[in-house]
Symmetry: C2
Subunit: 555 residues, 2 copies
């Protein structure tokens, strides 16, 4: 069964009861596009399913972390919970009956044979109201896309709400393997954070082994299964909505009409180094990245600006307009991944924003957006939408939950209850950061001629150049300037690549331990905060305090 | 006697013995220009006098600070030193004899009737080798321009090196009043840091009273006396040096051929808030600014970019080129103030760099560059050269000492001995900062309905927008977001104006004291460091840690 069919089945399951629209079983790409457009314009549908799976990711990772901390002791142990098995002691319900319990006063879901009344759980749902997507339905399609739910803790929690069995005529096979069979094979050296969707970082010592990260070692951040696309069939639509709507469509061949463009740029997840914030202050929600959610590459394709100008975008009237990028990756409710950037940022010639087909001289790998992705240098990587299928100029930011309910920042005192995503500005650029990659925390290192060599990366968003990396070997009492900075030769204000650095730290004879602090200074002379305390935030993004490690010294 | 004549006399005094060039007594502007060009190209002359007065400023302010800390108790007291009075007990020297002691092995200077052997003082001179400018000469012309030398401490120090009297036939009247008679009158509300040259900050509570600072309250930073210029006679030369040299000259009338341009921009001294770094870590060299070395204005004129393009500057070949701005203000050795920025920065349309004739709707006041100055938004104010007389496109940065030996940054461990100005990158953009302006540290404030209102400014260089200001009323335990941000409506990445903010801080009944911390976050999501310790630097620039004050509460 193809991903499209699974999607359609999910939509069908939804529509079967909420009666939003009839669903054709076989849709062409065009039909599917129009169908989705129609649904996007249906505010009722948007209200119901628009929340998408942002919160599911949160739930998943929170539970994944808990599970990780407990060492997965239940994984194959004797306390294993088999959720959704038939329970002869409980009553049986038809799906139609379950579907009526679709509101906050009575909220039921199904899982395999089980029926669950999770009404009392709603206020505790870490992802808030997004759970409403599953109102009166099976949670399996959602959990299939967001496999991080599938832990013993969540199964046990679910079973505690069990009220009955689903009539066997209403049971649908929701096994998820089919969703993931098209996943590309990955390099075994990547450090996997979650498998479904696939999120993995590059090991620190490999990270600094190349200025341009080999494609197979580039960190991977997916929100959904990887779409299985054909470059020959793929096209991207440019949709201009400014009163009237105009659409232009470009096959990859047609895109070649534009001058070739390239940019050497690091991509970094807004949540890179989240684990330090997590450990040094208090828990945050999100994948617990170490420093490996940044890599560097040479991207080639055509400049977005050229395409937009060709399509007649008014370059003189940019205020209040946005460029929405939509990918072919689809969540469990049938909504494509999307996010946006301000039009002014998109048109800035210094921005060097690319519609990229190539990465380090080769076609984009499937994990990095084959056959087409946008590269927004200097911005958090989430804006560099993969598997790009449309570019929409609009007076509104992307309505998606990835855009509206994530990748925004709050001060350290905001909680999930008090944080107002609607008024918090989206993150379109990244602050200065750095990390020590070699040695690693806890390593035993050899001092040669009384010197320990330390290597790492530094990066700043928005085109800022790294001017200096300073290392303290004594908790801030003294600072030594890294004597080698490796950066590219980009023009001023277009320093989108990372900087690799080497520092040589003298150690005293007989010194057994060394604590190292790293901080970078960029061309706006911004520096990193010393501690995570005051930049802590509920989502653990922008985690750019000093990197601090301790190593043992062998003489 | 005009400033020009005083200048020429100083040059004459120099040349009388070192025989660099014959000095005409009456030079036209053109002759003076050519003469200066010739001297600039004479490497010997450059070696001797090129160091200019950067270090004199340092000396002056260091001593001024010492004087300040001792409460000026010697100012009119009985221990007053009269430097340079005739001493019958000492031998008499001719000026020609003094002039032979012009090297590190024997270094003499004169002051009024006094002759001084300061050879042993050379290594201790806070400004280093720049003292060599006065080798074998009177120090009076230098001190006249840098009046901060004129403290009892410096006079006493000087007299301790006394070895004789200068022959009365060789004594020249170097009284300085004539240098300063053309200084403009200033608003009495400004807080004067030094009088000659005039440096004054705006009081904090007036600072936030207007979004655009009234011209008469705009902080003033001068390096030299204010030139007395005539808008009708003034012109600016554009000099392109790229193999051949091409020169175009523009009167102010001729500049009107370009489209009108404007930019609303704050100007901030790179040393703003230096006093906090000074007090909270350890002494730095420089004027001890509080937070009042930043003000905001609407500047009008023409865009530098338009002028450069008109003059045929190659906009496609900018790498490694610089734009040198030269003002009409002249140091004691006859060198004009100058500094430079990279050509790429000068040509960036988002940079909105202006050749400004107007400030808040009126012609520039003399203190702010009448009749023409450059405005480099987002950069430290030193790059916004006043009294602009030439713009030079060159493969070299400005050779001036203001450019080469100042306005660069170092890590906290660099000393005047280890800091290498030649390899340290110049400061072309400013990091995010903020300050609480009302209440002031130590104020007693009234809590209305259990709330204390706090107001201040925030600013970030390079066009970054201020997105958030957070205030902590409990040393970082909790943070409250300022609920009012007043900023202009500039397009993205062109936020050159400051942001004024208001926060409302709840206080407990009976609470008597309140410590407040302020920090801002900009659109690159950079934030301020908490403490000054790790950003401390020898020059006290980029002093952008949290602003912290304590106030008393009246209920």
């Amino acid at each position: 069964m193809t991903l499209k069919n699974i999607l359609l089945r999910t939509i069908h399951q939804k529509n079967k009861f909420v009666n939003v629209a009839a669903t054709a079983v076989k849709l062409t790409n065009q039909e599917q596009y129009e169908y989705k457009e129609q649904r996007r314009n249906d505010s009722n549908y948007r209200r119901i399913v628009g929340s998408a799976l942002f919160s599911s990711v949160l739930v998943g990772t929170v539970f994944a972390e808990k599970s990780h901390k407990k060492g997965n002791k239940n994984k194959d142990g004797d306390t294993k919970v088999e959720a959704g098995e038939r329970r002869p002691d409980l009553p049986t319900f038809r799906a139609e009956e379950v579907s009526k319990h679709d509101n906050e006063k009575s909220f039921w879901v199904t899982y395999k044979n089980g029926v669950y009344d999770v009404t009392s759980f709603l206020p505790s749902h870490p992802g808030g109201e997004q759970i409403m997507n599953a109102a009166g339905l099976s949670i399996e399609p959602f959990w299939n896309v967001y496999g991080m739910h599938k832990t013993q803790e969540v199964y046990a929690l679910l079973e505690s709400y069990r009220i009955g069995n689903l009539h066997e005529d209403d049971i649908v096979d929701h096994t998820d393997e089919e969703l993931w069979v098209k996943e590309p094979s990955r390099d075994k050296r990547l450090i996997v954070k979650t498998n479904k969707p696939f999120n993995a970082e590059i090991p620190a010592k490999l990270q600094i082994a190349h200025f341009d990260t080999p494609n197979e070692l580039f960190y991977v951040r997916q929100h959904m299964p990887v779409p299985d696309l054909d470059a020959g069939q793929h096209s991207v639509r440019v949709i201009i909505r400014d009163g009237s709507t105009r659409v232009k469509e470009f096959s990859l061949d047609k895109l070649e009409m534009f001058p070739k463009g390239s940019v050497r740029a690091a991509l970094m997840c807004a949540g890179n180094r989240r684990s330090e914030m997590n450990e040094q202050v208090k828990p945050v929600k999100g994948i617990s990245w170490q420093g490996g959610a940044i890599s560097n590459a040479l991207w080639e394709g055509v400049y977005l600006r050229d395409v937009l100008v060709y399509c007649g975008v008014d370059t003189a009237n940019t205020v209040g307009k946005h460029v929405i990028f939509t990918g072919s990756d689809i969540d469990a409710t049938g909504v494509n991944f999307s996010t946006s950037i301000p039009l002014d940022q998109a048109l800035n010639p210094n921005g060097r924003i690319l519609l990229a087909t190539h990465m380090n001289g080769n076609p984009l790998p499937p994990d990095h957006g084959y056959p087409l992705r946008v590269i927004v240098p200097g911005a958090p990587a989430v804006r560099s939408v993969k598997w790009l299928e449309s570019i929409t100029i609009s007076y509104d930011e992307s309505p998606s939950h990835w855009h509206q309910k994530d990748y925004r920042s709050f001060n350290a005192s905001k909680t999930w209850e008090t944080a107002d995503f609607a008024t918090a500005p989206p993150i379109y650029s990244l602050p200065v950061t750095s990390a020590i990659c070699d040695p690693a925390d806890g390593d035993a290192v050899v001092a040669k001629d009384g010197v320990v060599e330390v290597r790492g990366y530094a990066y700043s968003g928005g085109g800022a150049k790294i001017l200096r990396v300073d290392i303290s070997p004594d908790c801030g009492k003294t600072w030594l300037q890294a004597d080698e900075l490796q950066c590219d030769d980009a023009p001023p204000q277009q320093h989108y690549a990372w900087t690799l650095w080497t520092a040589r730290i003298p150690v005293a004879k007989g010194q057994k331990e060394l604590e190292l602090w790293a901080k970078a200074t960029d061309s706006n002379f911004n520096t990193q905060p010393e501690k995570f305390d005051d930049i802590w935030n509920i989502r653990g993004v922008l985690s750019n305090a000093y990197h601090k490690i301790k190593v043992q010294i062998k003489h």
